[in-house]
Protein backbone atom coordinates (compact mmCIF):
# COMPACT_ATOMS: atom_id res chain seq x y z
CA UNK A 1 0.00 0.00 0.00
CA UNK A 2 1.55 3.30 -1.13
CA UNK A 3 1.84 5.92 1.62
CA UNK A 4 0.54 9.36 0.71
CA UNK A 5 3.53 11.29 2.01
CA UNK A 6 5.23 14.28 0.39
CA UNK A 7 8.21 12.28 -0.82
CA UNK A 8 6.10 9.63 -2.57
CA UNK A 9 3.83 12.25 -4.09
CA UNK A 10 6.85 14.09 -5.50
CA UNK A 11 8.23 10.86 -6.94
CA UNK A 12 4.83 10.24 -8.51
CA UNK A 13 4.75 13.75 -10.03
CA UNK A 14 8.29 13.30 -11.35
CA UNK A 15 7.38 9.90 -12.94
CA UNK A 16 9.90 8.11 -10.77
CA UNK A 17 7.56 5.38 -9.57
CA UNK A 18 7.29 1.98 -11.19
CA UNK A 19 3.96 0.97 -12.76
CA UNK A 20 2.75 -0.90 -9.70
CA UNK A 21 3.59 1.93 -7.28
CA UNK A 22 2.05 4.40 -9.68
CA UNK A 23 -1.19 2.43 -9.71
CA UNK A 24 -1.13 2.19 -5.90
CA UNK A 25 -0.56 5.93 -5.66
CA UNK A 26 -3.49 6.70 -7.94
CA UNK A 27 -5.68 4.37 -5.93
CA UNK A 28 -4.65 6.09 -2.70
CA UNK A 29 -5.23 9.54 -4.20
CA UNK A 30 -8.73 8.58 -5.23
CA UNK A 31 -9.49 7.96 -1.58
CA UNK A 32 -8.03 11.27 -0.36
CA UNK A 33 -9.59 14.42 -1.74
CA UNK A 34 -7.11 16.76 -0.03
CA UNK A 35 -4.03 15.04 -1.35
CA UNK A 36 -5.58 14.66 -4.76
CA UNK A 37 -6.20 18.39 -4.86
CA UNK A 38 -2.60 19.07 -3.81
CA UNK A 39 -1.35 16.82 -6.60
CA UNK A 40 -3.48 18.65 -9.18
CA UNK A 41 -2.25 22.01 -7.92
CA UNK A 42 1.36 20.84 -8.02
CA UNK A 43 0.96 19.60 -11.60
CA UNK A 44 -0.49 22.93 -12.58
CA UNK A 45 2.43 24.77 -11.04
CA UNK A 46 4.97 22.55 -12.78
CA UNK A 47 3.30 23.12 -16.16
CA UNK A 48 3.23 26.88 -15.63
CA UNK A 49 6.89 27.00 -14.61
CA UNK A 50 8.06 24.86 -17.51
CA UNK A 51 6.05 27.04 -19.89
CA UNK A 52 7.64 30.17 -18.43
CA UNK A 53 11.13 28.75 -18.91
CA UNK A 54 10.47 27.72 -22.53
CA UNK A 55 8.82 31.03 -23.50
CA UNK A 56 11.33 33.26 -21.72
CA UNK A 57 14.78 31.75 -22.16
CA UNK A 58 17.55 33.73 -20.50
CA UNK A 59 20.15 35.11 -22.89
CA UNK A 60 23.56 36.18 -21.65
CA UNK A 61 24.98 39.32 -23.26
CA UNK A 62 28.01 38.87 -25.50
CA UNK A 63 30.15 41.25 -23.48
CA UNK A 64 29.60 39.32 -20.25
CA UNK A 65 33.16 37.96 -20.11
CA UNK A 66 34.93 41.20 -21.26
CA UNK A 67 33.06 43.15 -18.58
CA UNK A 68 33.87 40.54 -15.98
CA UNK A 69 37.53 40.40 -17.01
CA UNK A 70 37.93 44.11 -16.28
CA UNK A 71 36.63 43.64 -12.76
CA UNK A 72 38.73 40.61 -11.84
CA UNK A 73 41.82 41.23 -9.68
CA UNK A 74 45.25 40.76 -11.30
CA UNK A 75 45.64 37.26 -9.99
CA UNK A 76 43.63 35.02 -7.71
CA UNK A 77 44.69 35.19 -4.07
CA UNK A 78 46.72 32.15 -3.18
CA UNK A 79 46.67 30.12 0.01
CA UNK A 80 49.00 30.89 2.95
CA UNK A 81 51.66 28.36 1.95
CA UNK A 82 51.87 29.70 -1.57
CA UNK A 83 52.09 33.27 -0.26
CA UNK A 84 54.93 32.33 2.07
CA UNK A 85 56.65 30.64 -0.84
CA UNK A 86 56.35 33.69 -3.05
CA UNK A 87 57.60 35.92 -0.22
CA UNK A 88 60.64 33.68 0.24
CA UNK A 89 61.25 33.72 -3.49
CA UNK A 90 61.25 37.51 -3.33
CA UNK A 91 63.88 37.37 -0.58
CA UNK A 92 66.12 35.10 -2.59
CA UNK A 93 66.11 37.46 -5.56
CA UNK A 94 69.29 39.61 -5.71
CA UNK A 95 69.01 43.03 -4.07
CA UNK A 96 71.26 46.02 -3.36
CA UNK A 97 69.19 47.36 -0.44
CA UNK A 98 71.18 47.41 2.84
CA UNK A 99 68.10 46.65 4.93
CA UNK A 100 67.10 43.72 2.72
CA UNK A 101 70.62 42.27 2.87
CA UNK A 102 70.78 42.70 6.68
CA UNK A 103 67.36 41.08 7.10
CA UNK A 104 68.37 38.13 4.92
CA UNK A 105 71.62 37.61 6.83
CA UNK A 106 69.78 37.72 10.15
CA UNK A 107 67.19 35.24 8.86
CA UNK A 108 69.88 32.83 7.65
CA UNK A 109 71.74 33.03 10.99
CA UNK A 110 68.51 32.38 12.89
CA UNK A 111 67.67 29.39 10.72
CA UNK A 112 71.16 27.93 11.17
CA UNK A 113 71.01 28.42 14.95
CA UNK A 114 67.64 26.67 15.17
CA UNK A 115 68.85 23.87 12.96
CA UNK A 116 71.90 23.23 15.14
CA UNK A 117 69.72 23.06 18.25
CA UNK A 118 67.14 20.79 16.65
CA UNK A 119 69.43 18.52 14.70
CA UNK A 120 72.26 18.36 17.25
CA UNK A 121 74.26 15.15 17.91
CA UNK A 122 71.85 12.39 18.92
CA UNK A 123 72.25 9.03 20.54
CA UNK A 124 71.92 6.45 17.84
CA UNK A 125 70.04 3.30 18.59
CA UNK A 126 71.78 0.20 17.27
CA UNK A 127 69.64 -2.72 16.17
CA UNK A 128 71.20 -4.99 18.75
CA UNK A 129 70.03 -2.81 21.67
CA UNK A 130 66.42 -2.74 20.45
CA UNK A 131 64.02 -4.93 22.46
CA UNK A 132 61.25 -7.08 21.09
CA UNK A 133 57.56 -6.76 21.86
CA UNK A 134 57.56 -9.81 24.10
CA UNK A 135 60.44 -8.38 26.08
CA UNK A 136 58.61 -5.11 26.47
CA UNK A 137 55.53 -6.94 27.74
CA UNK A 138 57.63 -8.91 30.22
CA UNK A 139 59.26 -5.75 31.52
CA UNK A 140 55.97 -3.89 31.94
CA UNK A 141 54.41 -6.85 33.79
CA UNK A 142 57.41 -7.13 36.05
CA UNK A 143 57.19 -3.43 36.86
CA UNK A 144 53.50 -3.74 37.65
CA UNK A 145 54.14 -6.69 39.91
CA UNK A 146 56.82 -4.72 41.73
CA UNK A 147 54.44 -1.80 42.23
CA UNK A 148 51.72 -4.11 43.53
CA UNK A 149 54.21 -5.75 45.86
CA UNK A 150 55.32 -2.40 47.25
CA UNK A 151 51.73 -1.29 47.75
CA UNK A 152 50.52 -4.56 49.28
CA UNK A 153 49.91 -4.60 53.07
CA UNK A 154 52.61 -6.29 55.21
CA UNK A 155 52.29 -10.00 55.94
CA UNK A 156 50.93 -10.95 52.53
CA UNK A 157 52.60 -13.96 50.89
CA UNK A 158 55.45 -12.94 48.73
CA UNK A 159 54.87 -12.97 45.02
CA UNK A 160 56.22 -15.92 43.03
CA UNK A 161 59.26 -15.17 40.98
CA UNK A 162 58.66 -14.78 37.23
CA UNK A 163 59.25 -17.92 35.21
CA UNK A 164 61.87 -17.86 32.44
CA UNK A 165 63.68 -14.79 31.22
CA UNK A 166 63.09 -12.14 28.65
CA UNK A 167 65.48 -13.67 26.17
CA UNK A 168 64.01 -17.16 26.41
CA UNK A 169 61.92 -18.40 23.54
CA UNK A 170 59.88 -20.42 26.01
CA UNK A 171 58.87 -17.33 27.91
CA UNK A 172 55.11 -17.54 28.31
CA UNK A 173 53.31 -14.45 29.50
CA UNK A 174 50.02 -16.33 29.97
CA UNK A 175 51.62 -18.53 32.66
CA UNK A 176 52.83 -15.46 34.51
CA UNK A 177 49.32 -14.06 34.71
CA UNK A 178 47.94 -17.35 35.98
CA UNK A 179 50.64 -17.60 38.67
CA UNK A 180 50.20 -14.11 40.06
CA UNK A 181 48.96 -13.98 43.65
CA UNK A 182 47.59 -10.68 44.88
Amino acid sequence: MMKLNESNILDYLDDRLCKKDCADMEEALERSEDKSSDVDDARLAMQALHALVSVEPVVVSEDFWPRLREKLPAQPPRNAMAQVGSTLAGWLWPTTSKWAISARVAAVVAVLAMASLWFGPQRTVTPSSAISASEKAFISRSMQRHVDYVNSPPGVNSLPLPVGDAGSADHNTEQLDDGYMP
Binding site: L10, A45, A48, L52, E56, F64, W65, P76
Partner: protein, 210 residues
Amino acid sequence: MLTMAYPEVYEPGEEEFDSDAWLVGRALEHDIAAFEQLVERYQGKIVGYAARMLNDNEEAEDVAQEVFIKAYRSLNNFRGDSAFSTWIYRITTNLCIDKMRKRKRRPQQAYSLDEPVDKDEDKGSREISDESGEPNMNIEKEELRQQVRLVMAEMPEKMRTVLVLCDMQGLPYEHIAKILKCPIGTVKSRLFHARADLGRRLRPYMSGAQ
Protein backbone atom coordinates in the same frame (compact mmCIF):
# COMPACT_ATOMS: atom_id res chain seq x y z
CA MET B 1 65.42 -1.32 -19.54
CA LEU B 2 65.38 2.33 -18.39
CA THR B 3 61.56 2.50 -18.05
CA MET B 4 61.59 -0.32 -15.50
CA ALA B 5 63.70 1.79 -13.14
CA TYR B 6 60.93 4.30 -12.65
CA PRO B 7 57.54 3.70 -11.05
CA GLU B 8 54.46 3.98 -13.21
CA VAL B 9 53.46 7.61 -13.47
CA TYR B 10 49.73 8.22 -13.35
CA GLU B 11 48.58 10.16 -16.36
CA PRO B 12 44.99 11.37 -16.23
CA GLY B 13 42.77 10.33 -19.09
CA GLU B 14 41.45 12.87 -21.56
CA GLU B 15 38.16 13.21 -19.75
CA GLU B 16 39.90 14.67 -16.71
CA PHE B 17 41.39 17.54 -18.66
CA ASP B 18 38.91 20.36 -18.86
CA SER B 19 37.01 19.06 -15.83
CA ASP B 20 35.96 21.76 -13.37
CA ALA B 21 38.55 20.71 -10.80
CA TRP B 22 41.29 20.78 -13.42
CA LEU B 23 40.25 24.24 -14.60
CA VAL B 24 40.18 25.54 -11.00
CA GLY B 25 43.70 24.21 -10.52
CA ARG B 26 44.84 25.95 -13.71
CA ALA B 27 43.11 29.20 -12.68
CA LEU B 28 45.01 29.16 -9.37
CA GLU B 29 48.20 29.00 -11.44
CA HIS B 30 47.26 32.37 -13.01
CA ASP B 31 45.76 30.76 -16.12
CA ILE B 32 42.96 33.25 -16.78
CA ALA B 33 41.89 31.31 -19.86
CA ALA B 34 40.98 28.41 -17.58
CA PHE B 35 38.78 30.67 -15.47
CA GLU B 36 37.22 32.07 -18.65
CA GLN B 37 36.31 28.51 -19.62
CA LEU B 38 34.65 28.00 -16.26
CA VAL B 39 32.71 31.22 -16.70
CA GLU B 40 31.54 30.24 -20.16
CA ARG B 41 30.49 26.86 -18.85
CA TYR B 42 28.33 28.29 -16.07
CA GLN B 43 27.36 31.81 -17.08
CA GLY B 44 24.08 30.73 -18.72
CA LYS B 45 22.99 28.69 -15.74
CA ILE B 46 23.97 31.32 -13.18
CA VAL B 47 22.39 34.23 -15.07
CA GLY B 48 19.24 32.15 -15.59
CA TYR B 49 19.09 31.18 -11.94
CA ALA B 50 19.56 34.77 -10.78
CA ALA B 51 16.99 36.03 -13.31
CA ARG B 52 14.35 33.57 -12.05
CA MET B 53 15.10 34.42 -8.44
CA LEU B 54 15.11 38.20 -8.92
CA ASN B 55 12.63 38.53 -11.82
CA ASP B 56 15.02 40.95 -13.50
CA ASN B 57 17.33 40.00 -16.37
CA GLU B 58 19.57 43.09 -16.09
CA GLU B 59 20.09 42.72 -12.40
CA ALA B 60 20.66 39.00 -12.95
CA GLU B 61 23.74 39.72 -15.09
CA ASP B 62 25.12 42.07 -12.46
CA VAL B 63 24.58 39.45 -9.79
CA ALA B 64 26.20 36.78 -11.96
CA GLN B 65 29.24 39.04 -12.42
CA GLU B 66 29.44 39.45 -8.64
CA VAL B 67 29.21 35.67 -8.25
CA PHE B 68 32.14 35.02 -10.55
CA ILE B 69 34.24 37.80 -8.99
CA LYS B 70 33.56 36.34 -5.56
CA ALA B 71 34.39 32.86 -6.83
CA TYR B 72 37.65 34.10 -8.36
CA ARG B 73 38.67 35.76 -5.11
CA SER B 74 37.80 32.64 -3.10
CA LEU B 75 39.22 30.03 -5.49
CA ASN B 76 41.89 29.07 -2.99
CA ASN B 77 39.11 28.29 -0.49
CA PHE B 78 37.50 25.83 -2.90
CA ARG B 79 38.75 22.56 -1.49
CA GLY B 80 36.98 20.29 -3.94
CA ASP B 81 34.87 18.64 -1.24
CA SER B 82 31.82 19.49 -3.30
CA ALA B 83 31.46 19.98 -7.04
CA PHE B 84 32.35 23.39 -8.46
CA SER B 85 28.76 23.75 -9.71
CA THR B 86 27.42 23.19 -6.19
CA TRP B 87 29.77 25.85 -4.86
CA ILE B 88 28.93 28.43 -7.49
CA TYR B 89 25.20 27.82 -7.15
CA ARG B 90 25.54 28.28 -3.41
CA ILE B 91 27.27 31.66 -3.86
CA THR B 92 24.52 32.70 -6.28
CA THR B 93 21.78 31.64 -3.85
CA ASN B 94 23.27 33.68 -1.04
CA LEU B 95 23.73 36.77 -3.23
CA CYS B 96 20.18 36.56 -4.60
CA ILE B 97 18.72 36.21 -1.13
CA ASP B 98 20.71 39.27 0.00
CA LYS B 99 19.36 41.25 -2.97
CA MET B 100 15.78 40.18 -2.28
CA ARG B 101 16.09 41.23 1.36
CA LYS B 102 17.52 44.62 0.37
CA ARG B 103 14.62 45.10 -2.03
CA LYS B 104 12.11 44.48 0.73
CA ARG B 105 13.73 47.17 2.85
CA ARG B 106 13.67 49.73 0.03
CA PRO B 107 10.41 51.75 -0.18
CA GLN B 108 8.31 51.06 -3.29
CA GLN B 109 8.34 53.88 -5.85
CA ALA B 110 5.23 54.82 -7.82
CA TYR B 111 5.27 56.67 -11.13
CA SER B 112 2.54 58.70 -12.75
CA LEU B 113 1.80 57.78 -16.37
CA ASP B 114 1.23 61.45 -17.26
CA GLU B 115 4.46 62.67 -15.74
CA PRO B 116 7.07 63.56 -18.42
CA VAL B 117 9.93 61.09 -18.59
CA ASP B 118 12.57 63.81 -18.74
CA LYS B 119 11.54 66.75 -16.56
CA ASP B 120 14.18 69.14 -17.90
CA GLU B 121 13.26 68.85 -21.53
CA ASP B 122 9.62 67.95 -21.04
CA LYS B 123 9.87 65.18 -23.58
CA GLY B 124 7.09 62.72 -24.03
CA SER B 125 5.28 60.83 -21.33
CA ARG B 126 5.18 57.27 -20.10
CA GLU B 127 3.09 55.06 -22.28
CA ILE B 128 1.94 51.49 -22.10
CA SER B 129 1.48 49.49 -25.28
CA ASP B 130 -2.00 48.91 -26.59
CA GLU B 131 -2.45 45.19 -27.00
CA SER B 132 -6.05 45.34 -28.12
CA GLY B 133 -4.98 43.98 -31.52
CA GLU B 134 -3.35 40.86 -29.89
CA PRO B 135 -5.26 37.60 -29.76
CA ASN B 136 -6.99 37.03 -26.40
CA MET B 137 -5.12 33.76 -25.88
CA ASN B 138 -1.73 35.52 -25.86
CA ILE B 139 -2.99 38.09 -23.37
CA GLU B 140 -4.26 35.37 -21.06
CA LYS B 141 -0.97 33.50 -21.30
CA GLU B 142 0.93 36.67 -20.53
CA GLU B 143 -1.37 37.28 -17.56
CA LEU B 144 -0.64 33.77 -16.38
CA ARG B 145 3.11 34.33 -16.65
CA GLN B 146 2.79 37.61 -14.77
CA GLN B 147 0.81 35.86 -12.09
CA VAL B 148 3.51 33.18 -11.82
CA ARG B 149 6.14 35.88 -11.33
CA LEU B 150 3.98 37.71 -8.80
CA VAL B 151 3.25 34.61 -6.73
CA MET B 152 6.87 33.55 -6.75
CA ALA B 153 7.99 37.04 -5.70
CA GLU B 154 5.69 36.79 -2.68
CA MET B 155 6.81 33.29 -1.74
CA PRO B 156 9.16 32.75 1.23
CA GLU B 157 12.82 32.66 0.07
CA LYS B 158 13.38 29.03 0.96
CA MET B 159 10.36 27.79 -0.99
CA ARG B 160 11.13 30.01 -3.96
CA THR B 161 14.72 28.79 -4.07
CA VAL B 162 13.82 25.11 -4.29
CA LEU B 163 11.11 25.83 -6.84
CA VAL B 164 13.53 27.68 -9.11
CA LEU B 165 16.34 25.16 -8.68
CA CYS B 166 14.13 22.14 -9.32
CA ASP B 167 11.41 23.20 -11.76
CA MET B 168 13.25 25.94 -13.63
CA GLN B 169 16.92 24.97 -13.45
CA GLY B 170 16.14 21.24 -13.59
CA LEU B 171 18.52 20.22 -10.83
CA PRO B 172 18.01 16.89 -9.03
CA TYR B 173 17.03 16.82 -5.36
CA GLU B 174 20.42 15.56 -4.23
CA HIS B 175 22.22 18.45 -5.89
CA ILE B 176 19.75 20.97 -4.44
CA ALA B 177 20.28 19.50 -0.96
CA LYS B 178 24.05 20.00 -1.32
CA ILE B 179 23.64 23.57 -2.56
CA LEU B 180 21.33 24.51 0.28
CA LYS B 181 23.17 22.35 2.84
CA CYS B 182 19.98 20.71 4.04
CA PRO B 183 18.62 17.15 3.96
CA ILE B 184 16.87 15.83 0.84
CA GLY B 185 13.69 15.40 2.91
CA THR B 186 13.65 19.12 3.63
CA VAL B 187 14.11 19.93 -0.05
CA LYS B 188 11.20 17.67 -0.97
CA SER B 189 8.95 19.09 1.73
CA ARG B 190 9.62 22.69 0.67
CA LEU B 191 9.12 21.79 -2.98
CA PHE B 192 5.85 20.00 -2.29
CA HIS B 193 4.39 22.97 -0.45
CA ALA B 194 5.76 25.50 -2.94
CA ARG B 195 4.21 23.68 -5.90
CA ALA B 196 0.87 23.22 -4.14
CA ASP B 197 0.74 26.87 -3.11
CA LEU B 198 1.67 28.15 -6.58
CA GLY B 199 -0.80 25.86 -8.30
CA ARG B 200 -3.63 26.88 -6.00
CA ARG B 201 -3.07 30.57 -6.77
CA LEU B 202 -2.72 29.99 -10.49
CA ARG B 203 -5.88 27.92 -10.87
CA PRO B 204 -8.16 30.90 -11.71
CA TYR B 205 -5.75 31.92 -14.52
CA MET B 206 -5.17 28.50 -16.04
CA SER B 207 -8.56 27.62 -17.43
CA GLY B 208 -8.57 30.46 -19.97
CA ALA B 209 -4.88 30.35 -20.85
CA GLN B 210 -4.68 26.72 -21.97
